[in-house]
Symmetry: C2
DNA sequence: TTGTAGGCGTTATCAT
DNA sequence: ATGATAACGCCTACAA
């Protein structure tokens, strides 16, 4: 009773393995493995014994060992934009939560800089052996080629981008909201519009812009200008002062709320009243919009569920299914009308 | 020349291993391993041959296999708050970038919900076998006990929290800025203050609040109230209307810019002029503050480098060193004076 | 229903 | 300076 430490010989600093659980439970090591895999063919009594041992030892599986054997990592990589002005936090947490719910771990990698060393590490990370799939919240384009030049590729989903045969349905939600914004402003009596867009590389920005142009044309209205913005308040401010103020436009559709705040403040700074002279519509339902002066009309998008949806799309890919476009396309976007939109001045 | 496929037998869908690299280079598999480990004792010629083979096959190491053998994962976990109103994006990207630079991968895990399954997964993730260290941007408290009840623990750093013997120095930067804010307002002539704080569970919020109270007392000023906020614009709005408006206070120190925006708008909504009647100071240098009405006085904190610093602290722990407090404590916070602060009304 | 053998890709240890 | 062999912890296959 002194030579062999029996059940807990671990060198203090070492986690128990299935072997030690097995020994404590008086079974073989892969009976423990079966237990972990929730094999239904186990005798209830055995389950109990193993379960106790697991608990007593506070056993936790070694993920690396598992994935090496199963060739599945239960991990996805999420690629974040390098842009400092646009970081989709809610998207990230939504996607991460969905991933966790589905039993996946989430690696985040940034696209910042381009040090060779980092490129290499990221390249390694994105191998099939290291990650089951990739979810990107930033346009990828040729970056991908650089990161994983050849060989088998894991499934990739870029948020907001869809392949052709699902484009129509998938983008419908955003397009519909964009069209409704134009419609709302038109109903108020506006005829001349400006759109402050997001970067063209973002599918979502491009889509909104495209739909804006289509909607304006369809309704026989005038698009005075489309300003290329970068999601930032500064770009809105600039557009407000340099393009919109003094122009015949009376209605502005901004790519997001931060831009809209900039537009409004820019206009106010040169004495243009909002919404007296110009109406402004945002997109995101940033909390501040409720308290802004004037309170901002906007689109409430559930970024959390957008993130979840993006992950679901990836998950479908991982399961070998064709990813379905989000079904609840209807309820995804909700227009919120506040005081930043009103009828145009009666000339 | 037909039986053995020589150098690229991989089943189309399989990444090459060091064995295939070895075969192509005409060396043994752990000569390749040495190459990967940058072993300096290799003959230059051998290095060249292996290097070529690696490149030709686009070989990337299998991280799981490596970590299983080395018992190091080169991975850290970053824990994000469940709060939806406060998501430290910049902190995250700063920390992630620093981690990547140091050769570490980053897993993000949220603290959302409490489903047993998720707790289990997270618990597994946080094992030494799965992650080398943990960086948390949210208070952990007893959560930790729940997640990893026993056994060896990996090093943990909670952003903003420091152990006692470094507290003084580490917190100096924030405390100094907080004191300077009070000082600035006092210099303008203010005597009666309100602080709209962040959640007490956040070390940073608690520290600012504590220093606020100390600074006010030290200077013989009056703290009319300390309002418990939650980092949100709404909490600022509420504080502005319900506590500050109609009170004798003429100066407000808000926990962050979003709160400050709420305070200002709340005051304006009940006809209280800022800064005519009340001055408001923020914290964060949110871009919008530059364009706000009035432009917001605030503290510019480099969240990126704060995130980097947090990771460095963890890295020290990982290397077994005592973590040093940030050295550049001086330049970390920079007060920015804009129009939201002015002398109090002359009574 | 449970146990035994083998191997996943890598690095460590020992030879040579 | 390089090669052979074992081991990391787990799971899949097959045997009992």
């Amino acid at each position: 009773m002194s030579e062999q430490p029996a059940t807990q010989p671990r060198d203090a600093d070492k986690r128990p393995t299935i072997y030690e659980v097995a020994r404590l439970a008086g079974v073989s090591h892969q009976t423990v493995s079966r237990f972990l895999r929730k094999d239904p063919t186990m005798r209830p009594d055995t389950v109990r014994r193993v379960s106790h041992a697991v608990e007593k030892l506070d056993y936790r599986p070694n993920l690396a060992a598992r994935s090496m054997r199963t060739r599945r990592t239960n991990r996805i990589a999420v690629i974040l934009p390098e842009t400092t002005s646009f970081v989709p936090t809610r998207l990230l947490s939504g996607a991460a939560a969905a991933a966790h719910d589905a039993g996946y771990l989430v690696d985040v990698v940034g696209l910042e800089g381009d040090a060779a060393a980092r490129a290499e590490r990221i390249g390694a990370l994105l191998q099939p052996a290291n990650v089951d799939g990739i979810l990107s919240f930033t346009p990828l384009a040729e970056n991908l080629e650089r990161l994983a030049p050849s060989g088998p590729r894991v499934p990739i989903v870029v948020d907001g981008e869809y392949d052709d045969n699902m484009r129509a349905r998938a983008l419908l939600a955003d397009a519909k909201a964009a069209d409704e914004i134009v419609g709302h402003l038109a109903d108020l009596g506006h005829r001349t519009f400006v759109h402050v867009a997001g970067p063209k590389t973002f599918a979502s920005a491009l889509n909104r812009r495209t739909e804006y142009e289509a909607s304006v044309a369809r309704r026989g209205l005038v698009s005075h200008a489309v300003v290329e913005g970068d999601w930032s308040t500064g770009s809105g401010w600039k557009a407000g002062r340099e393009v919109i103020a003094g122009s015949p436009a009376t209605a502005v559709f901004a790519a997001n709320d931060r831009v809209a705040f900039g537009v409004i403040r820019g206009l106010q700074s040169v004495g243009v009243d909002v919404p007296g002279r110009v109406s402004v519509f945002g997109w995101d339902d940033d909390e501040l919009g409720r308290y802004f002066q004037p309170p901002l009309s906007t689109v409430r998008v559930n970024r959390e569920s957008q993130g979840r949806a993006a992950f679901q799309r990836l998950l479908s890919l991982l399961h070998g299914k064709q990813p379905a476009a989000p079904m609840d396309t209807a309820g995804l976007n909700q227009l919120i009308f506040r005081d930043s939109t009103a009828p145009p001045p009666t000339v």
